[in-house]
Amino acid sequence: MLEPAVVQGVLHEALRHGGDLAEIFVEDRRSTTVRLDDGRIEELTSGRDRGAGIRVVVGDTTGFAHTAALDPAGLLAAAEAAGAAARQGGGGTRVATLERRVVTPGAVRIQPEDVSKAAKVELLSRADEAARSAGDAIRQVSAGYGDTRRRILVANSDGLFAEDDQVRTRLVVSCVALGDTGMQTGFEAAAATVGWELFDEHPAEEIARLAAERALRKLAARPAPSGSLPVVIGPGSGGVLFHEACGHGLEADLVGKGASVFRDRVGQRVASPGVTLVDDGTIGGEWGTAAIDDEGHPAGSNVLIDDGVLTDYMYDLLRSRQEGRASSGNGRRQSYKHLPMVRMTNTFLLGGREDPAAIVAGTDHGVYVARLGGGQVNTATGDFVFGMAESYLIEDGQITEPLREGNLIGNGPEVLRAIDAVGDDFAMGVGGGTCGKDGQSVPVGVGQPTLRVAAMTIGGTAA
């Protein structure tokens, strides 16, 4: 993307007024999106964003500037701006000789850019047809296809020079069904850090059928109960529970600011025995996977909670420098226009030993959540919510009637201690998630086996 000699000069300029660290992040991102709605291909969009973000760190202060001009004049102007913004005396840091880090980008069998636009349009038409054929009650289908190719270069004054090539492909289908009780919606998605081969494993028709069936099932749904009940959460996308319940609270930037309930808890029991939580950006193809993070550090596989005991937090470059340790490979950013911060990659709870069917059978009266929607957490209090996109009543150990949408609410540390059964059916969620923090969105993966929380508050509308 840029020659090491050019990069070296830019870093040198950034440190001209002093500073402890200078870094350049260059990004060239091309995307294609296609949107189908109401049986029509509304549009096909091609996008290109390219630029560089430069930061200079002096003590606890960071100066940052970005530019879309990748010519030497544009880069040097941004370097000067970032350096001036952080000017605080200090300094004397010299730019080390840049050494190219060996990076093996994720395997992509079929580059989406080599697939015709017509094939992408046809994929959505097939999804539309499959969803509509799932039942007469399906009244509306919308579907979206997106692929991005994101090439990045990261270099810093410590001598780091690393490049990566990240390809992501995604299909989402959303259906509206109309019945006696009004309209209900169903949603399904497939998303991975792979190319067009995504659809070998997840055919568009299957994604569409799942979305349609979810909407149809909800037509018969009754209002969710309200109050405290045992909750069994199915495998896969249920992992968003941990993303919210404790993932964010284990991000070192929030911990460092006293904005996490998990501060000063390393080495302590924070969850039931049998609960092992991992953040792993190295798993081939997963939505939150990349060879390097957005600070050039290799993605890591980090055990955060081991058999119920908190083992470590997640770190980016700044937080790890402050604490004199290594980054855990969790420094991520939305684009070259953003400063990196501590972010999750793929966060999941490892499988246990119990038979998932026995977990349900052992639940007298409760709720079974087959599919979770999005969630949100206040890391300072640990209170979180997430939506039940598909859920059922459990009566006498049997999954019975479907429930309408509602939120579950809980407190992270309390829920971790209230997990009383962990199944042996671990799975990653296939839909891919988007995690937002301080205005920045990044792709993340989640996963978990079937598990039960002894009691959670269900925010339904039933009296």
């Binding site: 709605d37 049986g39 029509r40 509304e42 549009e43 096909l44 969009t45 996008g47 290109r48 964003d49 390219r50 606890d60 202060t61 960071t62 940052f64 500037a65 970005h66 530019t67 879309a68 001009a69 004049a73 544009g74 102007a77 941004a78 701006a81 001036a84 913004a85 605080q88 636009k117 349009v121 509206v176 309209m183 209900q184 919606t185 969710a224 309200s226 600011k257 006293g258 904005a259 309930v261 226009k337 929607g373 999005g374 949100q376 206040n378 300072a380 209170d383 979180f384 997430f386 996109a389 309408r404 949408e405 509602g406 939120n407 609410i409 301080d438 508050t457 925010g459 339904g460 509308t461």
Partner: protein
């Protein structure tokens, strides 16, 4: 610390005329039988984050980009690029042209036709924001953090005590005769306070917005954050019950945003609106009058033009609880056999979509304390979570996480957390029992008030 003013990027195109000129150039390349629209935007932003008496980060940068739409025989193609480089303009047009062939033909597709509505003159650009020294911006962030920390002995610190501003210009030109340009400035301070007692930490936010640092009220932002964080200390789960809730203006605004989306002509056409076929009917309590008014210079969303270059206008959505109209952009208006309400919203990286642009409630007469006194008993909601997962805008059902303080004898009482509140949007609108007079203009551009709603389900212990 000291910081010097910096020029983040060579200032290549700050003049609105320059942006118009770039858009003109793209449109001049339109071929016979082709409609072409170019949207060109540029913004300069500064943001400062203070932490622990120092500056955590200072960012200064310029962003610019173009979005090009091409329509041929009812087929639309689009492409965008985050750059204004000369070679990028032609590439982006070529890419948009290439995409035309893949879209489904729709006779309602097409660019906006000038409709003769005069654009409002809006005083939304403070030219001297560009010359405010960076030192002053840094000082504002530091001062905000200092005031929050000094606000109460139980304040332990802050997250994201920040100052930010932007100078933005957007130009739209089309081969159908649209030619519009507008510039505006915004300036804000925002803070999240952390209050502590023993092992417990609670948070509360405060914000002040304007178009220039002179228009900001640091004390108000600091006081809001301190009050909200400290009054939550000791919060517990409340028992499950039905009760009256009072939404603080920020929370009202979040719900209004969802209701605004259900009033888009596109939702109605696609059979996804709760309010389809209900124009002229009473859908809300008579107390509620809701407008979408980007011509009011008080809102940060004020803009003389919409995303298709039509002059902005004041659209009344609910008048005395009666549904007046839906919102339309050009496509949805043609589809519905009506005219655009100038409700197209967009950035350079997306095609125009229809949406509310600057929602505002016509305020009542009671300030918040008087409103609480009139309610007697209930829950004052200061925070909600899970709006994106817990509200179904198609069915109208919602269930969201909430925190706030109980209202007892008309006064704020003990704090509660880890509860959900649930109802449906349809019922909530009809169940409004009081509209506050405490109109507040929020960062997102909404003019909002405290709103009291009866018979809401609270789930808790």
């Amino acid at each position: 610390m000291t910081a010097s003013p910096v020029s983040a990027e060579v200032d290549r195109a700050s003049d609105p005329e320059v942006l118009l000129g770039l858009a003109d150039r793209i449109v001049s390349w339109a071929r016979d039988g082709e409609e072409v629209e170019a949207f060109v935007a540029r913004s300069q932003r500064t943001s400062v984050v203070a932490y622990d008496g120092g500056i955590e980060s200072l960012s200064q940068a310029t962003s610019a980009g173009i979005g090009v739409r091409v329509v041929v025989d009812g087929r639309q193609g689009f492409a965008y690029a985050g750059s204004l480089d000369p070679e990028v303009l032609a590439e982006t047009l070529a890419e948009a042209r290439d995409n035309v062939a893949f879209a489904t033909a729709d006779e309602a597709n097409g660019l906006a036709d000038p409709d003769g509505v005069p654009a409002p003159e809006l005083d939304v650009h403070r030219a001297d924001l560009a010359s405010v020294p960076t030192d002053r911006k840094v000082a504002l962030a530091l001062e905000l953090e200092r005031r929050v920390r000094a606000g109460d002995p139980r304040i332990r610190g802050t997250r994201n005590a920040s100052y930010g501003d932007s100078i933005g210009t957007g130009a739209i030109v089309s081969s159908r005769g649209i030619r519009a340009v507008g510039s505006s400035t915004t300036s804000y301070v925002a803070v999240l306070a952390l209050a502590g007692d023993g092992d417990e930490t609670q948070t509360g936010g405060g914000v002040s917005v304007g178009r220039h640092p002179d228009e900001l009220d640091l004390d108000e932002a600091a006081l809001d954050a301190v009050t909200r964080a400290t009054r939550m200390l000791g919060a517990r789960q409340a028992p499950t019950q039905r009760l009256t809730v009072v939404l603080e203006p920020e929370i009202t605004a979040a719900f209004l945003g969802i209701i605004g989306a259900t009033l888009s002509g596109e939702s109605v056409l696609k059979g996804r609106s709760l309010f389809a076929n209900r124009v002229g009917e009473t859908v809300a309590a008579p107390l509620l009058t809701l407008v979408d008014d980007p011509t009011n210079p008080a809102t940060l969303a004020a803009d003389p033009f919409d995303g298709e270059g039509l002059a902005s206008r004041r659209n009344v959505l609910f008048e005395g609880g009666v549904l007046q109209r839906f919102l339309y952009d050009t496509w949805s208006a043609r589809k519905a056999g009506t005219t655009s309400t100038a409700s197209a919203v967009r950035g350079y990286s997306s095609t125009p979509g229809v949406g509310a642009r600057a929602l505002a409630v016509v305020p009542g007469s009671l300030d918040q304390p008087a409103l609480l006194a009139s309610i007697g008993d209930g829950l004052l909601v200061q925070g909600v979570t899970g709006l994106h997962s817990g509200v179904n805008p198609v069915s109208g059902d919602f269930s969201v996480g909430a925190e706030g303080v109980m209202i007892r004898g008309g006064e704020p009482a003990e704090p509660v957390r880890e509860i959900t509140i649930a109802s449906s949007l349809q019922r909530m609108l009809l169940d409004i029992v009081a509209v506050g007079g405490d109109l507040e203009w929020l960062p997102g551009g909404t003019g909002s008030v405290s709103l009291a709603i009866r018979d809401v389900s609270l789930s808790g212990s």
